[in-house]
């Protein structure tokens, strides 16, 4: 219960705060009523800084951006739900870690940076991959170990990569990706192209020694590295306060500044990442602690209900869900009236209220259809060729000998 109170309380103040941005939104919409009209929304809760001046709570956005946030998060959510059922029908085997609940981190971060910036993360990587421009078909194919997967079906759930999107992947060992991220950042600093690396890890990984090794190197050499702690409050089945003496992860860097962010608010994430990128390019590393939550268990073998209460999960869903927050932000105002809706037609320039109407009625249905189609397409993708077992181990094959059940006849040296 302690944990429940703490998790939900951070948002009880935010439901009141939500009203303010909504009124701001509706005013702006009434005035401009265009998809790209700038509006200002206040974040749910203030940022908390450690050795740095936190950015403003007022986030500049547009109706179109809010809409895209909603759409992207709905798509991610739907993808993870579909992955859950594919797993249960044994089309996905082995290890599978779902991201539902944490979507605001992926979309908010993506909106503040470019594809030339790098992202590296751990095994809960499906939605980061989508955010980096990966497709649903690639994602589902990889999950099922098919040829059309983003890693040719050789990686599976934990190992999504997308080189052209600056996504250095999903890594299997807790915390191991963070030093890699600092190496990426050094490479970026060296070529002076004004890009940064976001190295993501969880609150569980925050206790790994190599994290502090990476932090020291990043600070010592002023690397443009942003260490993003996605604090979903449970390292596998252990609550953060049972595993961490100081669960204030944004302060863990000591000499490295940090910022605590409501990771359930995509706009707050966007603001923080924008701030972090500018900061890191000027001053070196920064820690962003994203206060977030995963609805699923740690992995598919974890029901996720033995170490936390169902009330806690439903409380977070009701009070802090990132998609619902976005829905409220867009819908709960008086702009989209029937009167305005009737001006909407295909020939006309897309009026914002029309977008709203489409949004409220069709987006979730459309996303569901996209996901279903992607699943169907991925199921059609063939398994990798058996010889793929021996490729990608070294640059060139090294002459591994294999043999079948009949040692004499089926025997060869594979590429």
């Amino acid at each position: 219960m302690m944990a429940l109170n703490r998790l939900v309380s951070s948002s009880s103040s935010s439901s009141a705060a939500l009203l303010r941005p909504l009124s701001a939104l509706s005013r702006s919409l009434s005035a401009a009523a265009a998809a790209d009209a700038p509006i200002t929304v206040e974040t749910s809760v203030p940022f908390v800084g450690h050795n740095c001046e936190p950015p403003s709570r007022s986030v500049s956005t547009t109706p179109a951006e809010l809409l895209s946030f909603f759409r992207d998060m709905a798509q991610m959510r739907r993808m993870e739900i579909a992955a859950d059922s594919l797993y249960k029908s044994k089309l996905i085997r082995g290890f599978c870690h779902l991201y539902d609940g944490q979507e605001a981190v992926a979309v908010g971060m993506e909106s503040a940076i470019t594809k030339k910036d790098c992202i590296i993360t751990a095994y809960r990587d499906h939605c980061i991959f989508l955010g980096r421009g990966g497709t649903l078909v690639e994602a589902f194919s990889e999950l099922m170990g098919r040829r059309a997967g983003c890693s040719k079906g050789k990686g599976g759930s934990m190992h999504f990569y997308k080189k052209d999107g600056g996504f250095y992947g999903g890594h299997g060992i807790v915390g191991a990706q963070v030093p890699l991220g600092c190496g990426l950042a050094f490479g970026q600093k060296y070529v002076k192209d004004g890009t940064v690396t976001f190295a993501m890890y969880g609150d569980g990984a925050a206790n790994q020694g190599q994290l502090f090794e990476a932090l020291n190197m990043a600070a010592l050499w002023d690397l443009p590295a942003i260490l993003v702690c996605e604090n979903n409050h449970y390292g596998m089945g252990t609550a953060e306060w049972r595993a961490a003496k100081s669960p204030a992860y944004y302060k863990r860097g000591d000499y490295v500044p940090g910022l605590k962010v409501d990771g359930m608010d995509a706009l707050a994430v966007k603001q923080a990442c924008k701030f972090a990128k500018e900061y890191a390019l000027q001053n070196g590393p920064l820690i962003l602690e994203m206060d977030t939550y995963r609805y699923h268990g740690h992995s598919m073998s974890d029901p996720g209900s033995t170490y936390r209460t169902r009330d806690e999960i439903s409380g977070v869903r009701q009070e802090r869900d990132p998609i619902e927050r976005m829905r409220k932000l867009i819908l709960s105002h008086d702009v989209a009236t029937e009167k305005e809706l009737k001006f909407c037609s295909r020939e006309q320039e897309l009026h914002w209220s029309c977008v709203l109407w489409l949004f409220s009625h069709d987006i979730e249905k459309e996303v569901r259809k996209e996901v279903d189609e992607a699943v169907a397409e991925a199921k059609e993708s063939p398994m990798p060729d058996p010889s793929e077992l021996f490729t990608d181990v070294y640059v060139k094959g090294y002459g591994v000998e294999v043999f079948g059940a009949d040692r004499k006849e089926v025997r060869g040296v594979l590429p």
Binding site: A243, Y307, A405
Partner: protein, 355 residues
């Protein structure tokens, strides 16, 4: 023999879980129940904690039972000060265990998967294994036992399937032990916990639920560094450990249909290994086949083959054979291609016997 129930991939296997007949008779007077491998481990941990108040069990998520349920009920029974969760920090928690053991305690560390043992590699290789030697016996961490589930599980992919035993077999000062069945697991784990040397105990995760066998409920230990001939034969000697023995057993049964008599040996302790038992068998059969899931190159099978080629050269009637994992990362798909399966073994048995 009849009290041994074996289920492996739907096949009932018997004979794999033999112990010496005399011991079996003696133990039959005491109570025993059919339990699976994780329950046998759990029994051993209960006994260890109960029989020595200076015993501690810790690791990631162990206080609520661990991901494989091996530590179920321990925290409730013995308290959170003796059975506790650690943060996710393998290097730190093994180092902590070494220190705890150096104070004369028995530290039983769980690494959640053997694939996660690498962050702790330095602590195990440089700190634990050499503590006694480098301090001239002033200090040691003999009370340290590191438990880690290893091996394939059908769909584990790259980081939940590896068999890293050979890395640790290269380290004098450590003992490496791998059980093949519930009854063996209980006796060998208790032996490791009580052994005055740091031990690494790899548990075959595929067998946690699949292997069911009658396990004596009382406290018993099985000797370390003592291999066991679990199937007598005259034509070829087969060596394996852990889950691979079940596969080997199937191959023996198939080979027998073709009139080939296989002698199957469970090595149990990889270092220091029981060379005498293996040599005696090879002197009898003149042929040797070693099988393990880890990649063939640099696997522990290589050491066995080299030793036997050296000591039994004049008795060997065919080249020593190895059927092992392929030299690739452990694959996500096509795991069966990678694995040293029954047919690969059977094929190699025939090739060796008919050499």
């Amino acid at each position: 023999m009849t009290n041994l129930l074996w289920r492996f991939r739907g096949l009932a296997l018997r004979g794999l879980c033999t112990s010496s007949a005399a011991a079996a008779v003696e133990e039959s007077k005491k109570s025993k129940a059919a339990v699976n491998l994780f329950s046998a481990i759990n029994q051993a941990l209960h006994i260890a904690l109960e029989s020595d108040p200076r015993t501690y069990v810790f690791g990631e998520d162990v206080s609520f039972g661990g991901v494989f349920r091996c530590t179920t009920g321990l925290a409730d029974r013995f308290g959170k000060h003796r059975v506790f969760n650690t943060p996710l920090c393998e290097q730190g928690l093994v180092g902590f265990g070494i220190g705890l053991a150096a104070m004369g305690n028995r530290a039983i560390v769980e690494i959640q998967f053997a694939d996660y043992i690498y962050p702790a590699f330095d602590q195990i290789v440089n700190e634990a294994a050499k503590f006694r030697y480098r301090s001239g016996s002033q200090f040691n961490c003999g009370g340290l036992t590191i438990r880690a589930p290893y091996g394939a599980v059908g769909h584990g992919g790259h980081y939940h399937s590896q068999s890293p035993e050979a890395f640790f077999c290269h380290v004098p000062g450590l003992k490496v032990v791998i059980p093949r069945s519930p009854r063996e697991a209980k006796g060998l784990l208790l032996a490791c916990i009580r052994d005055p040397n740091p031990t690494v105990f790899f548990e075959p995760k595929w067998l946690y639920r699949l292997a069911v066998e009658e396990v004596p409920e009382h406290d018993y230990v099985l000797p370390l560094s003592q291999a066991e001939v679990i199937r007598q034969g005259t034509d070829i000697t087969l060596i394996a450990w852990g889950a691979q023995l079940a596969v080997m057993e199937q191959a023996c049964v198939e080979a027998e249909k073709d009139g080939i008599s296989c002698e199957l040996i469970d090595l149990k302790t990889l270092i220091p290994w029981d060379k005498e038992t293996v040599e005696a068998s090879v002197r009898k059969t003149g042929k040797l086949l070693v099988s393990h899931e880890a990649p063939i190159t640099g696997g522990f099978g290589a050491e066995i083959c080299a030793s036997i080629a050296e000591s039994c050269f004049l008795r060997l009637e065919a080249p020593v054979a190895r059927v092992c994992g392929l030299d690739t990362p452990f694959p996500l798909v096509y795991e069966p291609f990678y694995m040293p399966t029954k047919n690969k073994i059977l094929d190699t048995i025939k090739a060796t016997v008919n050499y």
